[in-house]
């Protein structure tokens, strides 16, 4: 059992590292220009020059996927950062002032955001403010806030009764300083696991929004858009569709495996973290 889980963890780590390296590399180099159209070589099967074939505009699918990883991972990273940056402080405040108005307000606001259907709200935001990377980041990031707020609050509550926190009080530290210096480092492992889960969810959401045309706009390369553009050609050449989908699935799988592995490594209790 233990050996298998560590295999899954290593696989997750390998996939995510590969994707991150690909995204960084795409910043400097792709085999072809991902926006370069050449209709004479449209819908070609994989070859040495075009390892994943070409789409119906004659663009190199491998280059689009490489360049698309940059946007997908970038959007997901920014969305998770919004959740961490706003959600964690809110959760820490709620935990520090447990049972008081601040705690109550954070909890109620969390419940309200959770009550909204995420995809629908994201679509509404994207539609009203115009499609684009920033809209997608905000739409996805918004729903990450309550996730991180809830987990930071729940994880910090039991810590406030521990001896080392009492010692910190005796040392004259205030609740704010204790939250940053003592609570945060002790809940960081949970935040990392959750960040990995939210990362995979953000990738799926970004792909979905791009697929229906609300994500980054052409000519910016994107996995969801490549899928949407190529789907009518699937019977002539399935490669663009298959490769774009595989890229999404593999990345999501990688972050999920990473989260599972980290969870097993860090969290001994069987308590389910929401």
């Amino acid at each position: 059992m233990r050996r298998r889980s560590s295999f899954a963890f290593r696989a997750g780590l390998a996939i995510t590292l590969f994707m991150v390296i690909m995204a960084v590399a795409a910043h400097f180099w792709t085999p072809h220009d991902p926006a370069d159209m050449d209709i004479t070589i449209r819908l070609q099967p994989p070859s040495l020059i075009h390892p994943f074939g070409t789409d119906h505009f004659g663009r190199d699918v491998f280059s689009i996927i490489m360049a698309g990883s940059r946007i997908t991972l970038g959007v997901a990273l920014a969305a998770v950062m919004i959740g961490l940056g706003i959600g964690v402080p809110l959760g820490l405040v709620a935990g520090a002032f447990h049972g008081r108005i601040a705690d109550d307000a954070v909890l109620r606001a969390n419940d309200l955001i959770f009550a909204f259907p995420a995809l629908l709200t994201a679509i509404l935001i994207a539609a009203r403010f115009g499609p684009g990377a920033y809209t997608v980041i905000i739409a996805i990031g918004l729903f990450n806030i309550p996730v991180f707020a809830r987990i930071s609050r729940a994880a910090s509550l039991p810590l406030w009764h521990r001896d080392f926190i009492r010692a910190a009080f005796l040392a004259g530290k205030g609740k704010g300083l204790i939250s940053v210096e003592h609570i945060l480092p002790n809940i960081a492992h949970l935040l990392i696991v959750q960040a990995s889960i939210q990362f995979s969810l953000a990738i799926l959401a970004e792909a979905g929004l791009s697929y229906i045309g609300l994500g980054v706009q052409p000519p910016a390369p994107s996995w969801g858009r490549l899928l949407a553009d190529s789907q009518t050609m699937v019977s002539i050449s399935p490669y663009p569709v298959v490769m774009a989908g595989l890229a999404i699935m593999l990345t999501v799988l990688g972050f999920n495996l990473l989260a599972d592995g980290l969870k097993k490594r860090y969290i001994r209790t069987r308590e389910v973290i929401i």
């Binding site: 009550a115 995809l119 629908l120 509404l124 789907q231 699937v234 999501v252």
Partner: protein, 318 residues
Amino acid sequence: MTMLAYLVRKAVFLAASLLMASLVVFALIEVIPGDPATYMLGINARADTLAALRAELGLDVSAPARYWHWISGMITGDFGISYTYRVPVLDIVIERLAVSVPLALYALVLAITMAFPAAMAAAHYQGSRGDRALLAITQFGIAVPNFWLAILLVYLFSLVLGWFSAGGFNGWSEGISAGMKALTLPAVALALPQAAILSRVMREALIDTMREDYIRTARAKGLTRFQALLYHGFRNALIPVLTILGMQFSFLLAGAIIIENVFFLPGLGRLVFQAIAQRDLILVESVVFLLMVAVMIVTFIVDIAYAFVDPRIRRSRA
């Protein structure tokens, strides 16, 4: 806490969520970025057309007055008149619900029929090769984007094998079986990833309940391990599973936007999408709010259902 107090508390939260949702939708559509009439008609619209639309939208009155007009209309069943279709929004919504609700239910039933038996078998034979296979397969199931799955299903089952049509829906007039057939591929595409999540949660919950004392008691009474799982473990495992089911139904109803687009199904999701593309804000505002209402009511029902499944919940959660 009594059952009644629990119900009241949940009802108050439902009311607060609905109020919040209406305010957010109204603010997003009508208040934040400038003039909705200009947005709907584009910047090159003629002044008199613009004025006519403004009058139709009631933009000459203040935002609170407009909000009140909109929300009181929603309550009395007057959802406004669609700007592009020129028919009452309510009529379009009812027509589209005939696709979206059956699709969501179909997908949910498929997901449950796949997930429950698989999860029970995996929990019973925990650690076996089959259990590990289920865990591995479901990892892929969770990661697969459902719209990609949908495209692959269309490719395989309609373009290559020719068993199903590639999309579209001719209504229920041709009979239930024809309608169901048209909804099968979309339902499968929606159900498979959901089934993966559901079976993992169910398996985990079953394994947790199998450690409880009442299972030992049941075994001591002479039940086999599987009987104990079936009669006692299953019901208790339903609590976390219900949470997921509620979320999934909401997702299937509101989140079918993408799948309905892949299959060109005339459902609510596609309606929202088309309305956005046509800048028909009256339609978007009312339909999005209705979908949110539906999702929130489903959540409410699930909360109530918990309390019936597990009396501990209505007592413990203050």
